[in-house]
Every structure is written in C-alpha cells, then in structure tokens.
C-alpha cells in the first residue's frame, strides 16, 4: 500500500514511497524501575516522509528517540532496516544504519570551525602523515551545507553562530555521515519564526532527497503544516497513526489525553482560601519570561502548567531569586520581596527545585544536616550550632513527614527518591516557609510515594501555607490543584478555575498556536 500517493493531492511535495519502510519498529517495549516507558509501540518510517511524533510529557517520545539512536536498548520488540531484522545496541550501530538524532543540546565544539565540527573525528587525511586536508574538509562541508540550502561559511568559528545556525551545522554533521533518518527533538523551540521557516525549507529539501524525518513537537501548527504522518503516543502506547488530513488539532489533543481518571491523587478537601500569599505583577526575567501575573492565596494549591520549555521553572526561580529578575513586583503576604535567595528564604519562601539530587540536596551530608540547612539562622540566632537541637528538629520532621530512614545521621544519598523529596520539603518546613514553590515534586518517584508527597503538600496548605506547583503530568494538576495558570513560550496564557480544570483544557492552552 502506497500511502504517500494517496495524499499527494494534499501534499504536492510528497515523494513516492517504496513498499518497505526504511526503518520499522515492531512491538517495542522498554521499562525502567517502576515505570513502563514504552509498551508495544510499532512505527514504520518511510523515506522522504516527515513523521510527526506527538504526545504529552512522559508519553514515551524521548525513550523512543533514545532507542532509535542506540542510547537505550529495547526490552522487547524488533527493529527492521529495509525489511531486514537488525539490532541497534549502540550509537555507532545507529549511525551505521543512517540514523541521526538532533538533540536540543548540540554535540558541537564552540571554538572549532563549522567544517571541523561537521567532520569531527572523521577528518580527511592530508599529504603528510598525521596532517589533515583543511581545504577538502572545508569544501566537503560547503557541499553538505549547500545541499541543505544554507550558505554558512564553513570556516566560521562555531561560537559565533546563533542557535539556529548551530542547529543547521548539527544537521549537516548528521547528513555528512549519510544519515537517511533524522530524528529531531523540538527543533523550533529556540528559533525565531524566520529561522523556523528556514528550517522548514531545509526539511523539505531533505524530503526531496529521500531522507526520512521523525519530528517531535508540541506545536500543533507545525505538526499540521509539515507532517506527512502523525503518530500519537500516550502513556507509552501508540494511540494511533493518522494523516493530517484525517484529523484536526482538537482531535489530536483528544488522542493525547483521555486517560482513565485516577482518584488516588484526589485531595479530600479544598480549603477556604486565606489571605494572598504570593502576588506577582509584571515579572520579567532574562531567563526568558515576561509579563507574568500570578496570585496564590494561603490554603491553595495553584498549579503552573505548560509544556517543557514554556518557562514554568523560570518563573519559580525568578520568584525565589535564583535567577535574576529584570522587572516586576513580588509580594509575599503583602510585603514586597526584593533581593536574592537569602531575602526570599527569610521572608518565608521555600523552593523545591526540579532536580532534587543536583539542586535540592547535599547528598553527602546527612539527612539531618539537609533538613536544618535552610533554618540555621532561625534555629540558632546566636549562630552557635547545637547538634542536639538540630537533631530534635530533624527528628520532628522525619516523624511528621514519615521519612523512612534508620536515623537522621544517614547520608541523604541512600534514601529513596520519595524520601529525598520529603527532606527537601521538610527543609523549608523547619525554616518556617509559608509559601512553597514546588518544581516537579513527583518527578522520578514511584506511585506509592507520589501519594505521600501529595498528602504532605495537602497538609501544608491545610495548615495555612500556600503552594505554587509545577507539574508536567496534567492529571496530577487536575486532581490536586485548586486552580492553575497555563504558560506558553515564557508567558502566562491562561487561567483555569476549579471547574475548568481538565487535561484537555490545559493542553489546549499550552499548545495552541495563534
């Protein structure tokens, strides 16, 4: 069956496909401890086709990508290349099969030239032993770049290029290794609209040359503009593969959402909202957010939703002072907040960062040390540290939050993820925080522990604190939060009150490209 001919009427630039896919994944499954990342996913990749891969955060897209490039090995399933069964066990294997992945962090060297970057490790040998043929490297690089429709000077040092052009170099690098399948992960997230158009021109060229492109994106406009085929993943499963002509943005959203309602996370009661704990007006920061207006009252759990890269963490960090603010007003329980993290901590703001191991905990320090870390000046106003008092405070938190550890003297690194997260939350409890900024509090935590974390958060607000919670799992937002703000591309684009709070609504606001 030749699908592409059928939609040639819609897509004038379509390339007729052969009868076997360039690459085919069948029944791919991949699990990690506690999480089933992929379950029976089958995917054909045809040459000359732009295959869109969409799904929520955590749907399995990045696991699939990693399997394609050889970074992960599938637990089950087969891979066929030109109809022949093959194994992709390493990045070198993937390269041999012509698969190249363009990640968001480029593998480029800043102070080498464009050409040197393209041919890193594969330089053409010169006449004298040990030398390289610079002219040939430059010439070949120019050839590849030209075939992409770019006239970047191959001799230019890479660091002088902007993100968009570095991306082109990354693509050229892949092509120079005879990639026939290009996997691109959110390639337009850092590009201006003009640069995006250039990228799309390039992709159309590649299509003409028979290259297959697997394109992961949240931007529905792009998906419909460029895609020849759309595959939707949800919870590690393939929901379906459709042609753009067969569906609509709303339909796509519907396919991406629609999980069974999970009542485990439902909060038993919603409190009366108290005084305004956090008031943000016109917050802007060089980290990429602008015009943020947010309000959180005591007793509320307010969600901050959006897709990866929409600026949610940046907002939390800017409020806390971890990132520089360029303008805007912040009030904590009516009092203005100026200054950096020490000021925020003193005014009762607690920040639970996204990456608890690298940013939230001093892993080699004990549980007890970590728990009192933000409260040292509170507990010991005369600056004399009394281990007994610290231990008591730590033990109290361990009891209150039910942290599982033989004692407060164990190093924090030996605890499970859920318990580590409790330490980070507990740290701010001891410090007397009244406003908690939580960035992905349940990331990497197994189901049972998630429940406990939400119970802890519920307790926090029941006792009069306020919570602003970032969570990429929309179902959690829906069932735990009182209301939510939705962000997109550095701005708040919407607010959902309790009765409006649904996964579909969140996604619609987060993805819609007007």
């Amino acid at each position: 069956m030749n699908v592409s001919i059928a939609d040639a009427s819609v897509r004038p630039d379509a390339v007729p496909a052969p009868s076997t896919p360039l690459l085919e994944l069948r029944g791919i499954a991949k699990s990690f401890p506690g999480v089933r990342a992929l379950d029976d996913v089958s995917l054909p990749i045809w040459p000359g086709e732009i295959h869109m891969l969409v799904g929520e955060n955590g749907a399995g897209k990045s696991s699939l990508m990693k399997i394609l490039c050889g970074a992960y090995r599938a637990d089950q399933g087969e891979i066929y290349h030109h109809g022949k069964r093959v194994e992709i066990n390493s990045p070198a294997d993937a390269r041999n099969f012509g698969i190249a992945v363009i990640f968001q962090e480029f593998s480029l060297v800043p102070y080498l030239s464009v050409a040197q970057n393209i041919f890193l490790g594969r330089e053409f040998v010169g006449r004298l032993p040990g030398t390289i043929d610079r002219k040939r490297i430059d010439a070949e690089a120019k050839r590849v770049l030209t075939s992409l429709g770019s006239n970047i000077d191959p001799g230019m040092p890479l660091h002088r290029l902007g993100v968009a052009h570095q991306q082109i170099v990354e693509i050229a690098k892949a092509l120079s290794q005879n990639a026939r399948i290009l996997v691109m992960d959110e390639p337009t997230s850092a590009l201006s609209s003009r640069e995006t158009e250039h990228l799309f021109d390039m992709m159309r060229r590649l299509k003409q040359q028979g290259v297959a492109i697997v394109y992961i994106s949240h931007r529905l406009a792009e998906v419909f503009l460029l895609g020849d085929r759309i595959t939707v993943l949800r919870d590690g499963r393939k929901v379906g593969s459709v042609l753009p002509s067969e569906t609509s943005p709303a339909g796509l959203v519907q396919m991406m959402v629609g999980r069974k309602v999970d009542t485990t996370y439902a909060r038993p009661t919603h409190n009366e909202a108290g005084p305004v704990a956090l008031e943000v007006k016109g917050l802007c920061a060089p980290s990429g957010i602008a015009g943020i207006d947010i309000e959180v009252r005591a007793g509320e759990i307010v969600g901050l939703c959006g897709l990866v890269g929409s600026g949610r963490s940046e907002v939390a960090r800017a409020i806390f002072g971890a990132d520089r603010r360029s303008s805007g007003e912040i009030r904590i329980f009516g009092k203005p907040l100026v200054g950096d993290v020490s000021a925020a901590a003193r005014q009762g703001v607690g920040f639970i960062p996204e990456n608890r191991k690298q940013q939230g905990l001093a892993l080699i320090r004990t549980v007890g040390d970590n728990i009192v870390l933000a409260a040292l000046e509170n507990l010991f106003p005369k600056r004399i540290f009394r281990p007994a008092i610290a231990r008591k405070a730590a033990d109290a938190i361990i009891r209150k939050l039910r942290i599982v550890t033989p004692s407060s003297l164990r190093p924090a690194q030996v605890l499970s993820g859920g318990n580590q997260q409790k330490i980070v939350i507990g740290k701010w409890l001891v410090a007397g925080a009244r406003l908690f900024l939580l960035d992905e509090p349940t990331r990497g935590i197994d189901v049972g522990a998630k429940e406990e974390i939400f119970a802890v958060i519920g307790d926090l607000v029941a006792n009069g604190a306020a919570v602003l919670m970032i969570d990429s799992e929309q179902s959690e937002i829906v069932h735990v939060c009182d209301r939510a703000y939705v962000m997109r591309e550095g701005r708040v684009v919407g607010h959902l009150a309790r009765h409006e709070l649904s996964e579909a609504n969140i996604l619609r606001l987060a993805m819609h490209h007007d």
């Binding site: 191991k357 905990l361 933000a374 540290f385 009891r399 033989p406 003297l409």
Partner: protein, 327 residues
C-alpha cells in the same frame, strides 16, 4: 509521653564517617611511630618528639585556615606567600615599635587583606580559585621581596620569642597554641552555623544557594580566615626563627596542602575536619622527621610531599562517597 515512632531514635553515639577517618589516621600515626622507633634510636627521645610536635603545630596553623577554604571546594595556593608577607610586615612593626601586639595586628591584618583579595577574585571576578590564588601567590611574594629588599630583620623581644621557642611545663608553647586552634577551629567548623553552611557549600554549592545560604559571602569569609590564620602562623614562625627574610613561607605551600589532604579533607569540598587536619599535620611531620633522622637528603622532602598530595587525591577519588553521590 510515649509516641509511636516510625523511625529509630537517633543514637547518641554513632561511628560516623568522621570518626572512622580519625581512627584510620590515629592508626597511621601509631604505625609510623612504631616503625620509626625501630628504624632510629633518636626518634623516641623527648627532645625529638617535642620537636615534632612543635613543627606539626607550625604546619597546623596554616593548614587549619586552609581546611576551611578546601571544605568549600576551593583552594588557596597563596598561603605560603601570605605567611611571608605577614611575617615581614609584622617583623618590621615589632622591631620599630617594640610591641608584639601591634605586630600581631599588622600581621593578621595583612593576611586578612590578602584573603579578602583572593575572595573577591574568586567571587566577583569569577576566576577559578586555583588560578586566582596562584596569581596572588606571585604578587604577594613579589611585594614581600620588594619590601624586604634582600634584608633580614632579626632580634625580637624575648617575650615575643617565647611564642615560638619557649616552653611551659616542658612542652613548647606552639603546641598549646595548636591545641587552642584545634579547639577554636573545630568549634567554628562544627559548632557554628557558619561552619554548617561551609560544609553545605562544599557538598553542593547550588543546593546551598537554593537553600538561602549567601554563598559568596561565606566564600569571602573563608578566604579571609585562611589569610588571617596565615598571618597568625607567621607570628609563630617569627618567634621561632627570630628573624624574617623575604623567602619565609615559600616552601610552606606544599606541606600545608599535604597536611590538609592527609587529614581526610576532600579536595572537592564538603568532607573533612579541622581535627583531621591536625592529625594530617602530625603524620606529615612524622614522615619528614623520619626522613631527617634516617639522614635522607632534605631535597627529597618536596618530592615526597608532592607524591603524598597526589596520592591523597587519588585515594579520595577512588573511595569517595561523592562518586556514588553523583548519580
């Protein structure tokens, strides 16, 4: 009131990581002493042992301040040069005013200023500490040489000299000072909020900052303290040597770093104790003392010290809890 506890009550005495470290060092000291007493008759004499203690205390003064810097994950390569500068300035003041106290103020003040400069270079100019302090090492040394213009200052008041050469109850005075610093330093590190924050900064400076700790302020503080301690050490040196020359302190950097590292303080920060540094100073001095007693060419001391430094870091990397923590 009884409560059902979900966790075991924290026992009062626990063989914590720090204690095991100290145990190993005590064992090492014991082994070295036993070995040396067999290898040389002169080792176990009172004179020699007191000498070892005195030497160790000189190293310890500088090493204690440096310990704080290394605990934060930074390094101060300029300690030796700072001692030199402080010593020469203090010497001048003592000679001209006759007041050891004034000399002390000047010496410690000079050291603190160098520390402040280092702190600013590292926190404001964001120069990696090993480069910044390497540069300040040379600058300070240059200033010292220029100031001294090749001369030697000698002949200090006997009261002052007692600081370095005197005895009390048969034990050299520097040893008492060392004990004092051990207590004060250990107290600062373990029993003040500043100390707790310093450990946290060394363990994970990002997490420390995100917990509201003013990281830059604390870094400047430890550099100042390192410089001040170097200033203090210079006074004891002056008292002991009864003279000051431009090149005092040049050969001190390596042994100071070695003492800190042998003492179990991790170069990467967050792990270590001042008492460990005490034992490190002792171990290093014993090793060097042994080499002296066995008539090994004194020129072997820097190589041995250098090798010890490399070995300590290697050991730290190979066994560190840190490598497991970086998952």
């Amino acid at each position: 009131m009884t409560t059902v506890e979900t966790t075991a009550a924290s026992p009062r005495f626990v063989m914590s990581g720090d204690l095991t470290q100290l145990f190993y060092r005590l064992a090492a000291i014991g082994l070295i002493c036993v070995a040396l007493s067999f290898l040389s008759d002169a080792f176990l004499t009172t004179n020699n042992l007191l000498n070892v203690l005195r030497q160790a205390s000189l190293v310890f003064f500088m090493a204690s301040g440096l310990t704080l810097v290394i605990l934060t994950g930074k390094i101060d390569l300029s300690v030796g040069a700072t001692v030199g500068l402080s010593a020469c300035l203090a010497a001048t003041v003592i000679k001209s005013t006759g007041s050891p106290w004034l000399g002390a103020v000047v010496g410690i003040g000079a050291g603190s200023l160098v520390g402040l400069a280092n702190g600013v270079l590292v926190t404001r100019l964001r120069i990696p500490s090993f480069i910044a302090t390497y540069g300040s090492l040379w600058i300070v040394q240059g200033i010292t040489y220029y100031y001294m213009a090749g001369q030697t200052i000698y002949g200090f008041p006997p009261g002052f000299r007692a600081l370095g050469s005197g005895y009390a109850l048969g034990i050299p005075i520097p040893v008492y000072l060392m004990a004092g610093f051990l207590l004060i330093g250990g107290f600062f590190a373990k029993r003040t909020t500043y100390g707790q924050q310093i450990y946290a900064i060394g363990a994970n400076s990002v997490a420390a900052r995100l917990s509201g700790i003013p990281v830059n302020s604390r870094l400047v503080l430890v550099f100042i303290m390192s410089g001040a301690m170097a200033g203090l050490a210079s006074l004891v040196f002056l008292a002991r040597l009864n003279s000051a020359e431009g090149d005092i302190g040049e050969s001190l950097t390596l042994p100071t770093i070695a003492a800190v590292l042998i003492g179990g303080t991790s170069l990467f920060g967050g792990i270590g104790t001042v008492s460990g540094t005490f034992f490190g100073a002792l171990i290093l001095t014993l090793i060097l003392n042994g080499m002296n007693l066995l008539a090994v060419n004194a020129n072997w001391q820097p190589p041995v010290t250098g090798a010890i430094i490399i070995f300590s870091v290697w050991l730290d990397l190979a066994t560190s809890a840190r490598s497991q923590a970086s998952a």
